[in-house]
């Protein structure tokens, strides 16, 4: 049986790791803080995937970010998806060579879809994850690019179709409104849009505890639940959440 996934996200900004709330970033600590408080090599045995995003506003330094990815993935034996600031095929290549198994694109999916096609032709559909950030405005979910700052004039339905036609491998559906709140996922919109595409659908934004992760995972079309909440899952938060989910019948992989 195909398992669902528990994914941990790390938001990086200019040398530090951040807690994001509605896409406003608060610095939590550097990689030493992270290694001390999260002990990745150990924690990774409770995860199914690691997501590392460079959310530095403005100019991003992909080389610096790649060397950080390279350090993070040492002795981590789960897939790693990395992105933020990929603007040309060489950027994607650099991340793959630094140990990323997939790359994540956001803004270029809208303003340079040929880059997506180029990555897919070279590395395969499975290597490209589409990050979709949306904000509900007057009751309607609107896709935002450029780190959540710019609304695009295409409906969410049409945008998801556009991504499907590009043949991206998976979608991360991230609610800017719920981001970092710890109030739970945006279940209504997730239920509505997860069935709109025929590809793996990952949800992000709002999970604050193991109950939220469980309820997100229980939606049929949801392939994985992601959280980037550094505060709520500190220490043994993630191993405990995974045990809780498995005890409550979640369809997650089992490690001996």
């Amino acid at each position: 049986m195909l398992r669902k996934r528990l994914i941990f996200g790390l938001i990086y900004n200019n040398g530090g790791f951040m807690q994001s709330r509605n896409f406003r970033l608060q610095r939590v600590g550097d990689i030493n803080w992270l290694e001390k408080n999260y002990k990745f090599q150990k924690i990774s045995f409770s995860l199914d995937e690691l997501l590392v995003i460079d959310a530095t506003k403005g100019t991003k330094d992909i080389e610096k970010f790649s060397s950080l990815v390279s350090r993070l993935v040492e002795d981590v034996f789960i897939p790693v998806a990395a992105g933020g600031g990929i603007r040309k095929i060489e950027d994607a290549e650099l991340l793959f060579n630094s140990g990323a198994d997939k790359v994540v694109l956001n803004s270029p999916l809208y303003n340079d879809p040929e880059l997506a096609t180029e990555i897919i032709n070279r590395f395969g559909s499975q290597s490209l994850v589409a990050s979709v950030d949306y904000k509900v405005i007057d009751g309607i979910p609107v896709v935002h690019i450029n780190d959540g700052t710019t609304a695009i004039p295409i409906s969410l339905e049409d945008y998801l179709q556009h991504l499907e036609q590009l043949e991206v491998g998976e979608i991360i559906f991230n609610s800017i409104d719920k981001d970092g709140t710890g109030f739970g996922y945006d279940i209504d919109n997730i239920e509505k849009y997860a069935k709109a595409v025929n590809m793996p659908f990952i949800i992000m934004g709002g999970a604050g505890n193991e109950h939220h992760l469980s309820s997100g995972l229980s939606i049929d079309e949801v392939s994985g639940v992601a959280t980037a909440n550094l505060f709520n899952f500190i220490g043994n938060g993630l191993p405990n959440a995974r045990s809780f989910m498995l005890e409550h019948g979640a369809n997650l992989a089992r490690w001996e």
């Binding site: 045995f45 034996f77 990323a100 198994d101 070279r122 559909s125 793996p200 089992r254």
Partner: protein
């Protein structure tokens, strides 16, 4: 033990290398040079990406006959991973019909069902056959990380272990000195580390 990872320029070799190092094997070379491959005790054929492009690169590097000679004539143990496993079969229909290395009897095609989410991504359970060396000491229905759009089927007995995703397909095969896994052991936690260890110790 001298281990050579065949480097033909496709895919992430870092995770495979670091998983093998983690297991305590440090004599690892990345190479596409015949004499280096010939000097290896064991070979690993990794790969991520497009089948047609991968075979092109292998042919440009003149590696196909070299690998066939080492594996079929000299019986050097080899483990193919993901695309590397698919390349070991007879052919694939990804980006047109392309012949593979022909080390085992298997053909690679799209998943038959049109209702599936493609690519097949995530951890899925496999059912190892009795007496498997690859899964020695591993849980009876272990989870492994898959990420692929095409899959292998075979009508022959190639020591296959099945995985189910809308249909049964070859998750792995093992026949004499030849083994291949569709999934990524290097991304499959303890289950994957043990499988790599089994290949290194039992083949």
């Amino acid at each position: 033990m001298k281990l050579v990872i065949v480097d033909y320029g496709m895919g992430n070799l870092k995770s495979v290398t670091s998983a093998i190092r983690y297991l305590g094997y440090n004599d690892i070379l990345l190479s596409n040079d015949f004499s280096v491959l010939k000097g290896a005790d064991k070979l690993i054929l990794p790969g991520v990406g497009n089948y047609a492009m991968a075979m092109n690169r292998i042919n440009e590097l003149d590696l196909a006959s070299c690998i066939r000679k080492l594996v079929l004539d000299e019986e050097k143990p080899i483990l193919g991973i993901c695309l590397g496993m698919q390349l070991m079969g007879h052919s694939s229909t990804e980006s047109g019909f392309n012949l593979g290395l022909g080390l085992i009897d298997g053909v690679v095609e799209e998943f038959a069902s049109k209702d599936l989410k493609i690519p097949h991504v995530g951890y899925n359970q496999v059912k190892p056959h009795a007496g498997s060396r690859l899964y020695s000491g591993i849980h009876p229905e272990p989870d492994y990380y898959f990420t692929h759009s095409f899959r292998m089927c075979s009508n022959s007995d190639i020591g296959q272990t099945a995985c189910y995703y809308g249909e049964e397909f070859v998750a792995s095969f093992e026949i004499n000195n030849i083994a291949g896994v569709q999934f990524h052991p290097e991304l499959s936690q303890t289950n994957g580390l043990q499988l790599l260890k089994n290949f290194l110790e039992l083949f």
